[in-house]
C-alpha cells in the first residue's frame, strides 16, 4: 500500500512562525491536537518546545468549521434559529437567546414578561451547566478524575430540565422570536426547586476537592497570568476578563431580558491567573443559582408568546376554527416574515464572555448577513501569548481556564 501524496511540511516552511532555534534542531515541534484529549475538541496547537517548555504556541483553528453564518443567509429568520444551537454547543439556549433577541430588536417585537423570566431562568441554568462541563474537563486536564463525573452528574439534572421544556437535551431551540416555543410543563417547577435545593452543597463538594488542594493551587496559581491592561488589549470578555479584576458583565453593564430586576453579584478576582479564573467561575455558579431562584420565585403568570401574529405562529388550538390563524401559520412557515432593511448588534453574556450577533436585514424574509462575535474565538487569541515560557502541563491548564468551545471558535 502506498501513501497518497501529502505535502510534506518542514521546519523551513514554518520559519516565520518559529524561533531561530527551531531550524537548528534545538527545539522540538509538536502537534498538540486536533486528536488530543485536552485541547477541548479539535483545536490544533503547533508547539515549539524546548524540553518541556513552550517557546511558541501556534493555534490552528478551522477543523470544526461548519459555515453556519453563511448557511443562515439561505434560511428564513425563524428556520435559521436551529443552527445557532450548534455554535457553542455548551450554551445552546444562550445562542438561541442572542439570536431571537436580535430579531426582536430588528423587527421591534414585544416579549411577554413570563417569557423573559423563563428565558433568564433557562439561560442561567445553562450557564451553570456550561461551567460544570468546564470544571469537569478542567479538573480532568489536571488529572482530578472524580470531579469530572461529579460535574456531569449535576449537569444531567439541568439537561433533564431542558429536555422537559424543549424536548431535547442540548439542541433545544426553545426560545423563539417573540417568546418561547411553548410554556414550561407542570413538572418544571419541582425539578428546578430540587436542583436549587441540592446544588449549593454540590458546589461546596467540588470546592472541597479543589479550592484548597495544594496540588491544585500549585498547578494553577501564578500560571497564565493576564494583567488588566493586556486583558483589555486582547479584547477578552467573560470570566477570563473578570479573573483579571475587571468588573465587566453585560448582564449588568447593558442589561437585557430583564436582568436589571435581579439581584446578583458579579464576582471578580485580582489574580489574573488560572486559579483566579477558576474562582470566578465557581462563584458565578452560585450567583447563577441565585438568579434562578429569584426567577422562579417571582415568575409572572400570563402568555409566553407575543400576540403579534405577523411574527409569532398562532397556537395550535386556534388552527381548528380560525381561518386567519391558518393563513398566518402557513405564511410564517413557508415564507417567513420580512425584516426591515437595517442592521442590529445584540450582545449577551454567555458563560464564556460577550456573545454578540450582528444581524442585517435587506427587507426580505432572509437575513442579508449574520455574524457572531463569539467569546471563545476572541479569548483564544490570547493563548499563544499566555502559554509562552510555561510547561506543557501548564498549557493544558491554561487552555482549560480560558474555556473555549471549538464550535464557538470555528462556526
Amino acid at each position: 500500500m502506498t501513501l497518497e501524496p501529502v505535502m510534506e511540511v518542514t521546519v523551513n516552511d514554518l520559519k516565520h512562525l518559529l524561533s531561530d532555534r527551531a531550524a537548528e534542531g534545538d527545539t522540538m515541534l509538536l502537534n498538540m491536537g486536533p486528536q488530543h484529549p485536552s485541547t477541548h475538541g479539535v483545536l490544533r496547537l503547533l508547539l515549539e518546545l524546548d524540553g518541556e517548555i513552550v517557546v511558541n504556541c501556534i493555534p490552528d483553528i478551522g477543523f470544526l468549521h461548519t459555515g453556519i453564518e453563511k448557511n443562515m443567509e439561505a434560511k428564513t429568520y425563524i428556520k435559521a434559529e436551529v443552527m445557532t444551537d450548534r455554535l457553542d454547543y455548551l450554551n445552546t439556549t444562550g445562542n438561541n437567546l442572542v439570536y431571537v433577541m436580535a430579531i426582536e430588536k430588528l423587527v421591534g417585537l414585544d416579549v411577554p414578561p413570563r417569557a423573559e423570566a423563563i428565558r433568564v431562568l433557562i439561560v442561567e441554568l445553562q450557564r451553570i451547566a456550561s461551567h460544570l462541563v468546564w470544571l469537569g474537563t478542567h479538573g480532568l486536564d489536571l488529572a482530578a478524575m472524580s470531579i469530572f463525573l461529579y460535574c456531569f452528574r449535576e449537569r444531567e439534572m439541568i439537561l433533564d430540565i431542558l429536555e422537559m421544556c424543549g424536548g431535547q437535551r442540548m439542541m433545544t431551540t426553545y426560545f423563539r422570536p417573540g417568546g418561547l416555543w411553548r410554556d414550561t410543563p407542570v413538572e418544571f417547577e419541582a425539578a428546578v426547586r430540587e436542583f436549587i435545593r441540592i446544588f449549593p452543597k454540590r458546589v461546596d463538594e467540588y470546592e472541597a476537592l479543589l479550592t484548597r488542594n495544594p496540588i491544585f493551587i500549585d498547578r494553577t496559581k501564578g500560571i497564565g497570568v493576564i494583567p488588566k491592561d493586556k486583558a483589555l488589549e486582547w479584547g477578552l470578555t467573560g470570566p477570563t476578563l473578570r479573573g483579571s479584576g475587571i468588573d465587566y458583565d453585560i448582564r449588568r453593564a447593558f442589561p437585557y431580558a430583564g436582568y436589571q430586576d435581579y439581584e446578583f453579584d458579579v464576582p471578580t478576582e485580582e489574580g489574573g491567573d488560572v486559579y483566579a479564573r477558576y474562582k470566578v467561575r465557581m462563584q458565578e455558579m452560585r450567583e447563577s443559582l441565585r438568579i434562578v431562584q429569584q426567577a422562579l420565585d417571582n415568575m409572572p403568570l400570563g402568555p409566553v408568546n407575543s400576540a403579534n401574529r405577523k411574527f409569532v405562529p398562532p397556537p395550535r388550538s386556534e388552527l381548528g376554527h380560525s381561518m386567519e390563524a391558518v393563513i398566518h401559520h402557513f405564511k410564517l412557515w413557508t415564507e417567513g416574515f420580512e425584516a426591515p432593511k437595517a442592521s442590529v448588534y445584540m450582545p449577551v453574556e454567555s458563560p464564556r464572555g460577550e456573545l454578540g450577533v450582528f444581524l442585517e436585514g435587506d427587507g426580505g424574509p432572509r437575513p442579508y448577513r449574520v455574524h457572531f462575535r463569539t467569546p471563545s474565538f476572541t479569548n483564544l487569541q490570547a493563548l499563544p501569548w499566555l502559554s509562552e515560557g510555561h510547561y506543557v502541563a501548564d498549557l493544558v491548564a491554561i487552555i482549560g481556564s480560558i474555556d473555549i468551545v471549538l464550535g464557538d471558535v470555528d462556526r
Partner: protein, 413 residues
C-alpha cells in the same frame, strides 16, 4: 493445627519420591511448581485488581463500574484480555524494533521477579534471601529501563517526552525509596524480609509505630516509582496523551498495564511487609495459613489508599515533583537515617514502657523514643517547608467563600 500448604508440599514430595526421578530433576520440578504458583498468584491478583480498581473508582465517582460481564462484572478483566489479544499489533515504521519489543517484556518481568522474595506466610515464599531488600531495590530498577526503552524506541515525540519525564522521576524517587527502605533494615538488623516480618510480632512492634515517617516516605516514593496519580507524569493522558506507551497496541500495551497494576500491588505488599508486619497477626503461630489472610488484608488496605489517591488528587507538575523529591523527601530521609541509629543506640538498654493484654500490646522505650523522634522530625519538616514555601499559604479564608458584595452599577445610558 497443620498448615494445609505444608501438607500439600509433603504430598508432592512423596509423589515425586515414588516416581524414582533423579534428585536433580526432582529439585527442578519442585522449583518450577513453587515458582509457577507464585507467578500465578501474582498474575491472578493483578487480574482481580484491575476489576477491583475499576469498581472502587466507580464507587468513589458515584457510578456503577463494570457490571455486565459475569456476576458484578467479575469477568471484565478476562474480556479485556481477550479484547487486547485480538487487537492488531502495530509497530511504527521508524521504531527501534528490538528495544520496542523488549520493553513490554521487561515491564512485566521486572515486577514479577520481586515476588520471588515476598513471604506470603511464615512458611510460604519463593525463596528466602538474606539480601532480599537489596534484591528488591535492584530488580525494581529494571522497570525504569522498560519505560525508558519504550519511550525512546517508539520514535514518537509524545513517547519521548514521557521517557524524559520517566528518567527524571523514576530515578529521582529511587533515592528516598532506598533511604526509607534502610530504616526497617536498621531496626530489624537484617535485609531478609522474613526476618523483618518476624520482628514485628505484635501490634505496637510494627515498624509503622517506630518509623511512621519512613513508612510514609516509602509509600510516597513507591507511588512515584510506579507512576500513579498524583505522580502519573510519565503517562499523563491530558498532557502527553499516553506518554511512553503511546505507540503500543494490543497485548504489548496490555503488558505495560499489567506491569503497572502488578507493581502497584507489589508496593502495597512491600509496605505491608516492611512496616505493617506482613503476615503477622493473632493466631499465626498456631495456624500459619492465617498469615496469608493478614498479609493480603494489609496489602489490600494499602492498595486501597493508592486507588483512593488516584481518584482524588490532581497531577503534580514536573518541577514540583522534582522539588518534592530533592528538597523535601531526601533531606527528611537523610535526617531520619541519622537520628534513627542514634536514638536506637541511646535507648538500647531501656526496657518495656508498658505492656497490656498479656503482652499483645507491648511498647518498648526504644519504639516510643523512635516514634517521638519521627513526630519531631515531621513537625520540623512541616515548619521548614512552610517557612520556605513559595506557595501562598494565605488561602485560609473561611470556606466556602462568598463573593464580595458590590453596589449595583449605574445603568448604562
Amino acid at each position: 493445627m497443620t498448615d494445609p500448604l505444608a501438607l500439600l508440599g509433603d504430598w508432592l514430595l512423596n509423589l515425586l519420591a515414588q516416581l524414582n526421578l533423579p534428585p536433580g530433576l526432582r529439585q527442578v520440578i519442585l522449583y518450577l511448581l513453587g515458582v509457577s504458583v507464585i507467578a500465578t498468584v501474582a498474575l491472578v491478583i493483578t487480574i482481580f485488581n484491575t476489576w477491583l480498581e475499576r469498581k472502587i473508582a466507580a464507587r468513589i465517582q458515584d457510578r456503577l463500574g463494570p457490571n455486565r460481564v459475569g456476576p458484578w462484572g467479575l469477568l471484565q478483566p478476562i474480556a479485556d484480555a481477550i479484547k487486547m489479544l485480538t487487537k492488531e499489533d502495530t509497530t511504527p515504521a521508524a521504531a527501534d524494533k528490538v528495544a520496542y519489543n523488549i520493553a513490554p517484556i521487561l515491564a512485566v518481568v521486572s515486577v514479577l521477579l520481586i515476588w520471588a522474595v515476598i513471604p506470603f506466610t511464615s512458611q510460604w515464599f519463593g525463596t528466602q534471601l538474606n539480601v532480599a531488600v537489596l534484591y528488591i531495590a535492584a530488580v525494581g530498577s529494571f522497570g525504569v529501563l522498560a519505560v525508558l526503552m519504550a519511550g525512546w524506541s517508539s520514535n514518537n515525540k509524545y513517547a519521548l517526552l514521557g521517557a524524559f519525564r520517566a528518567v527524571s522521576q523514576l530515578i529521582s524517587y529511587e533515592v528516598p525509596l532506598f533511604l526509607s527502605l534502610l530504616i526497617p533494615v536498621l531496626l530489624a538488623r537484617s535485609m531478609d524480609i522474613s526476618v523483618i516480618v518476624e520482628k514485628q510480632a505484635t501490634l505496637l512492634e510494627m515498624y509503622v509505630v517506630a518509623a511512621p515517617l519512613a513508612a510514609l516516605l516509602f509509600f510516597i516514593s513507591s507511588v512515584a516509582e510506579v507512576g500513579r496519580t498524583p505522580f502519573d507524569l510519565l503517562e499523563a493522558e491530558s498532557e502527553i496523551v499516553a506518554g511512553y506507551h503511546i505507540e503500543y497496541s494490543g497485548f504489548k500495551f496490555g503488558m505495560f498495564q499489567a506491569g503497572e497494576f502488578m507493581h502497584t500491588f507489589t508496593i502495597a505488599a512491600l509496605t505491608a511487609l516492611l512496616f505493617l508486619g506482613g503476615w503477622q497477626g493473632p493466631g499465626v503461630a498456631q495456624a500459619p495459613i492465617l498469615g496469608l489472610f493478614y498479609f493480603m488484608g494489609k496489602s489490600f488496605a494499602v492498595y486501597f489508599v493508592t486507588m483512593w489517591m488516584r481518584s482524588t488528587l490532581p497531577r503534580i507538575r514536573i518541577d514540583h515533583m522534582q522539588a518534592l523529591n530533592w528538597k523535601i523527601l531526601v533531606p527528611i530521609a537523610l535526617t531520619l537515617l541519622m537520628l534513627t541509629p542514634i536514638v536506637d543506640y541511646f535507648t538500647k538498654d531501656l526496657g518495656v514502657l508498658f505492656s497490656a493484654f498479656g503482652g499483645a500490646l507491648t511498647l518498648s522505650w526504644r519504639f516510643a523514643a523512635l516514634l517521638l523522634t519521627n513526630i519531631l522530625v515531621t513537625l520540623a519538616a512541616i515548619e521548614a517547608v512552610r517557612r520556605n514555601a513559595k506557595r501562598n499559604f494565605v488561602e485560609r479564608s473561611r470556606f466556602p467563600e462568598r463573593p464580595v458584595a458590590r453596589p449595583p452599577r449605574e445603568e448604562a445610558a
